[in-house]
């Protein structure tokens, strides 16, 4: 049960707390994220079947459809979006969804980019608090629910 602090890079600032859901596989939200439930539905993705709603979703980046942004915006409106998203690169698709969510609903999703080394420290099931300055406070769990 060690606490770990990670200094991430803010893409879209905000605060959130939740349980980590981590994969090193990129994801297309179109065909990969069910915005009515928050389920990961890409049946070839390691997180298939997991519910990302309210969790801190960590993926290296998005791939695939340019509709990813629109799916994430729908999820924000429906209340099924992740509480925050962690990536390894500046992902413009996710950033845009968060900016438009702020514009339309005043509900931006906090997005923080990490280095590859920082990303490797993330583990599904751990509790994480995301701070406005991009700091992550991780509380490791003895029990892992990683898929």
């Amino acid at each position: 049960m060690a606490d770990v602090t990670i200094e991430g890079r803010v893409i879209v600032p905000g605060e959130a707390e939740g349980e980590l859901l981590v994969s090193n596989q990129p994801l297309s939200f179109w065909g990969g994220y069910e915005h009515q439930t928050g389920e990961i539905i890409d049946r070839r993705h390691p997180l298939s079947g997991q519910i990302a709603k309210g969790r801190i979703l960590a993926i290296p980046n998005t791939v695939g459809s340019s509709t990813t942004t629109a799916v994430l915006l729908e999820a924000v409106r429906a209340g099924t979006a992740p509480a925050a998203i962690l990536t390894t690169s500046t992902d413009s698709f996710l950033a845009l969804a968060s900016i438009v969510a702020a514009e339309m609903y005043n509900r931006p999703i906090p997005i923080v980019a990490l280095t590859a080394e920082q990303f490797e420290k993330l583990e599904s099931g751990a509790k994480v608090a995301v701070r406005k300055d991009g700091t992550l406070l991780l509380t490791s769990q003895t029990r892992s629910v990683s898929s």
């Binding site: 893409i11 879209v12 990129p26 297309s28 179109w30 065909g31 990969g32 915005h35 009515q36 539905i41 890409d42 049946r43 070839r44 980046n61 998005t62 791939v63 695939g64 459809s65 340019s66 509709t67 990813t68 942004t69 629109a70 799916v71 915006l73 729908e74 924000v76 409106r77 429906a78 690169s89 500046t90 413009s92 698709f93 950033a95 845009l96 969804a97 900016i99 438009v100 514009e103 339309m104 609903y105």
Partner: protein, 419 residues
């Protein structure tokens, strides 16, 4: 970040509230991406047309209500509705009315109602070197790679902001130095007959997307001369499994007359070899259905072209589909009209095939629940359908699809893939 006087006028609302909203989104994105300035674009393709729910519709209608008008010629991507034929399918009334409102909103902004994911096969195709802002992953990769126009991977909602302001962050694939190849992909012992087969391009694209991720791959060693629609399938598959926005093929695509040119004289970051075994494995993965049961064949992702209609017609001439297997082709209304004028639609309809225009099976809830197993020649359909439609997929060539529809069960010619 440097903003021009015109940028600042847009941002301050001098050109209306819609332009102000669009510009504020563009500028925020430019800041996040670290762009030093904005640059002009002269064309756009709007993927935001796809209806999915209230948020996308509210965004479109807010812009429209604010009086948004596009400042450059802008084509429209597939919509969530075939306005003429949706009642023949399982589309709910409520979906139809909202999808249509979204269509009306984007049309009202002065966009051209092309309603296609293959705008590069219409009169709105961009030119070599033209700075454009395109959405729709398959269209982006085609415009950059096959035409040599210049666009970043524009997500939905940003494409329309770019069209309204005619300005985008000056970075990424808009700039020559960022268009150099990064990854060398060599084909090893792939027989010419395989390279000439349509299915090869979907399968290669699937692998390419996985290998490349966000980087620019350069394919070397292709002996066949690929047709436009084969390059379309390659890009669509690569842009499904990866974030590929640009690929080069040495001796084929316009920015790759030589390997040196493709890499702009630099050395590749990585080199990979693609073998027949990898292609066989990737092809197998595109099929998720077990057994030979089949409910429907669906062709046309990206949207079917006139050349593809001409290729399909002789394959099914004089034949009839099996009564238990439906046969659907998805295309644009423009391409359907061209195929009609070319005289190939009679053959296709006589076979028992149906057409859906302006949308596709992934973008509108048209398929009845009884359709559980789909067969396609599209890597993109095969990749996305299991998640979006919860259907099982069978991947085959166009000829395999026709034969399967005739026999009422999956029939695939494996001879090419055993080489």
């Amino acid at each position: 970040m440097h903003l021009s006087a015109h940028d600042r006028a847009l941002l301050s609302g001098d050109l209306g509230p819609a332009a102000r909203m669009a510009m504020s989104i563009i500028v925020r994105m430019a800041e996040i991406q670290g762009a030093p300035e904005l640059l002009d674009i002269s064309q756009a393709h709007i993927d935001s047309t796809i209806y999915m729910g209230e948020a996308g519709l509210e965004f479109a209608e807010r812009l429209a209500k604010l009086g948004a008008k596009v400042a450059v010629p802008s084509s429209l991507n597939v919509s969530g509705l075939d306005e003429c034929h949706w009642r023949e399918w399982s589309v709910p009334e409520d979906w139809a009315s909202k999808a249509q409102r979204q269509m009306i909103a984007y049309h009202s902004m002065g966009c051209v109602p092309t309603w296609t994911c293959a705008p590069y096969q219409t009169s709105m195709a961009p030119k070599f070197g033209q700075q454009i802002a395109w959405g729709e992953s398959n269209a982006i990769v085609f415009a950059n790679s096959v035409i040599g126009a210049r666009t970043e991977r524009y997500p939905d909602l940003l494409d329309i902001c770019a069209a309204i302001t005619a300005r985008v962050p000056a970075l990424g694939l808009h700039l020559t130095e960022n268009r150099a190849g990064q990854l060398l992909i060599r084909l090893k012992d792939v027989p010419l007959a395989v390279q000439q087969d349509d299915a090869f391009y979907s399968v290669l694209g699937l692998l390419l997307g996985r290998l490349a991720g966000q980087r620019i791959p350069v394919i070397d060693g292709l002996e066949a001369v690929p047709a436009e629609d084969q390059l379309k399938q390659l890009g669509a598959a690569a842009a499904s499994t990866g974030a590929v926005a640009l690929f080069h093929i040495v001796g084929v695509t316009p920015e790759a007359p030589t390997r040196e040119a493709a890499f702009q004289g630099r050395a590749p970051i990585e080199a990979h070899v693609i073998t027949m075994q990898q292609l066989r494995d990737a092809r197998r993965e595109l099929t998720t259905a077990a057994g030979t049961k089949l409910d429907m064949v669906v062709l046309g992702s990206p949207h079917f072209s006139l050349a593809e209609f001409r290729q399909l017609a002789p394959l099914l001439a004089g034949k009839q589909r099996h009564p238990d297997v439906q046969f659907l082709v998805t295309t644009s209304r423009i391409m359907r009209d061209l195929a009609g004028q070319a005289g190939v639609l009679e053959t296709i309809e006589a076979f028992g095939a149906r057409l859906t225009v302006d949308t596709c099976v992934l973008a509108t809830p048209m398929l009845p629940k009884s359709v559980k197993v789909l067969m396609t020649n599209s890597g993109k359909y095969a990749h996305y359908a299991p998640g979006l439609l919860s259907t099982q997929m069978v991947f085959g060539s166009m000829a395999d699809c026709v034969e399967s529809a005739v026999h009422g069960r999956v029939v695939r010619d494996e001879s090419l893939w055993q080489m």
